[in-house]
């Protein structure tokens, strides 16, 4: 479950801008989180994370025509990943080739106002390295043949999407008024803990205008997390504790069901 609800912060600041006729101020975008920390408990089965945001100084005409587009991305921390391929050897399916990628975002969740191809051009996506096909996946060994690298890069994206870690939500950003919008991002059940970066991109008539970002820490909470931390930080003590528990269970079992 999401313990914390996300609430807009930037709403109030944007309202008085159009009171007097002045030279048009540059448009901007703001997003706000009510908390910089989301705690998920052990039985977390995925959730929608809502981020509110606002446009600064929007042109009312463009706004009325619905020509503003917003893309919000929640990107997880980057970690190295090994992609392995199974091949048939002597009839058995065995891991054979592998490719290591150095900086792979653990998760990547994107929400858009409209289908991505309607927002802006593929070139512009590439320049912003925005969208699942444009996440830069850097192979550790760049001397491998481009075909191999391409094959494993595609497999990595496809597996990440299959695991629900890379996802996009078309229509996930909705304008609530001229200025205010709400973005709904999917958090997979296996969402990784760590510092996630929320970024929002503003487009007008397919032109990229501005980007803003904020950070969000996703932490696991509760009893299970305490165990996990104990096991990773103090492996030896954890091992001793496990042994003690096992012996205690065995001994108790003998006392409860004593036969001799």
């Amino acid at each position: 479950m999401l313990r914390a609800a996300m609430v807009a912060l930037a709403l109030a600041a944007t309202l008085p801008a159009h009171a007097q006729e002045a030279p048009p101020l540059p448009e901007g975008i703001q997003i706000g989180l009510s908390t910089d920390r989301v705690a998920i408990t052990a039985n977390f089965s995925g959730a929608d994370l809502t981020i509110f945001g606002a446009l600064e100084n929007p042109d009312p005409l463009v706004s009325r025509q619905g020509r503003y587009d917003v893309i919000v991305v929640l990107e997880g921390p980057a970690r190295p990943v090994v992609v392995r391929r199974k091949d048939r050897i002597l009839g058995m399916w065995i891991n054979t080739r592998s490719e290591t990628f150095v900086n792979v975002p653990v998760s990547y969740s994107m929400a858009t106002t409209r289908p991505p191809q309607d927002v802006t051009t593929p070139n512009s996506y590439k320049q912003l390295s925005l969208g699942i096909p444009n996440i830069y996946l850097e192979p550790e060994d760049k001397r491998d043949s481009p075909i191999t690298i391409q094959e494993f890069t595609d497999a990595l994206r496809e597996r990440k999407e299959g695991l629900g870690l890379f996802s996009d939500n078309v229509g996930g950003v909705q304008f609530l008024s001229q200025n205010l919008f709400r973005a709904t991002l999917r958090l997979a059940p296996n969402v990784p803990v760590g510092t996630h970066k929320a970024r929002a991109f503003l487009f007008r008539n397919g032109q990229f205008i501005k980007e803003t970002s904020t950070q969000l820490a996703i932490v696991k909470s509760g009893f299970e997390q305490t165990i996990y931390r104990f096991a990773t930080d103090h492996g030896f003590g954890y091992g001793l504790f496990s042994i003690g528990l096992a012996m205690l269970t065995g001994w108790l079992g003998r006392i409860i069901f004593r036969k001799d």
């Binding site: 039985n43 399916w93 996990y228 096991a231 496990s242 096992a246 001994w251 079992g253």
Partner: protein, 309 residues
């Protein structure tokens, strides 16, 4: 009821795990085996990552073996000296095994290796037991009393140097095979998550000619300590021991073992062995079968140390 496994990082049904633990406990009580060789494959069938299944299996083995070892200690059917020599070998074997385990995991071959080892060992042990017990069943049906293997006969093992006297076992034997058996079991314990009783007991009886009444207690003693060592090594180097998973399995196992022991007294020895052999063969076949089935995803993602994602 769902329970979250903090190390495996997945939610599982607690009743399935309890039932699994109870079923294996029942069998281990019935046949007098530790049950690690059944728990680990069952966990793998239940989609627990093999690395975690193995390390947790080793942890779970401690509970059932400790309980049994206490009983033998009380009856005086435990040869501490023999057990200690076995242990020295066992701990060395386990340390090497854990190193191999981490190495295989980092090159992505651990799952394959675990399955292959299980198929080979369970297939061999199950096959031999089945043949032996079916023969015994046939003989008793024909009215011929089953011929017992004569112990006390000397073989090449008894000509090795560095002899040592083990009073409780009434044995005067070289320490080389004792250390060797211990090391082999330790290696298997670390890589397969088994106590190794199903190999240790026949090895002590047939190779070293240890009297049958001391074999089980001594083997249990060595299993407790080696499994404890294995748990410690895995938890500090690979962080793959899931204590929640182990605890649920242990609780089920301890309860199941009591009923299994009672059921075991009603069945005849040969029938018991034939049943266990069939069970062992079934697990081996299933694990072997999975190796040949085309996996759903040909590509898999892991971290650098081999942790599945």
């Amino acid at each position: 009821m769902g329970v979250y496994l903090p190390i495996a990082e997945m939610s599982v049904n607690m009743f399935v795990l309890l039932a699994m633990g109870a079923a294996v406990g029942f069998l281990s009580g019935m046949f007098g085996v530790g049950g690690g060789f059944l728990i680990t494959p069952l966990l793998i069938f239940y989609n627990i990552p093999p690395a975690i299944a193995v390390a947790t299996g080793a942890n779970q083995v401690i509970a059932s073996s400790f309980s049994g070892a206490l009983a033998h200690l009380k009856r005086g059917t435990l040869d501490f000296k023999l057990g200690t020599v076995l242990l020295i070998g066992g701990i060395a074997g386990s340390a090497v095994g854990a190193y191999i385990f981490a190495l295989l995991r980092s090159i992505g071959q651990l799952d394959l290796f675990i399955s292959l080892l299980y198929v080979v060992f369970l297939g061999t042990v199950g096959g031999l037991m089945l043949v032996e017990s079916v023969n015994a069943l046939r003989m008793t049906k024909g009215g011929v009393p089953p011929a017992l293997k004569k112990s006390g006969q000397h073989n090449w093992i008894h000509r090795l140097p560095f002899k040592m006297r083990f009073r409780t076992s009434k044995l005067f034997v070289s320490v080389i095979p004792v250390l060797g058996i211990g090391a082999g079991i330790g290696l298997l314990s670390a890589i397969m998550g088994v106590g190794g009783g199903f190999i240790m007991v026949p090895a002590l009886i047939y190779l070293l000619k240890v009297p049958t009444n001391v074999v089980v207690g001594t083997s249990l003693f060595q299993i407790v300590v080696v499994s404890a060592f294995t748990t410690l090594v895995h938890s500090s180097t690979n962080q793959t021991v899931d204590i929640v998973l182990a605890l649920v399995l242990m609780v089920g196992g301890v309860a199941g073992a009591q009923y299994g022991a009672k059921a075991g007294q009603k069945l005849r020895g040969e029938q018991l062995r034939a049943l266990l052999a069939l069970l062992v063969l079934a697990v081996a076949l299933r694990l072997g079968f999975d190796l040949f089935v085309k996996p759903q995803n040909l590509y898999s993602l892991t971290s650098l140390s081999g942790r599945t994602m």
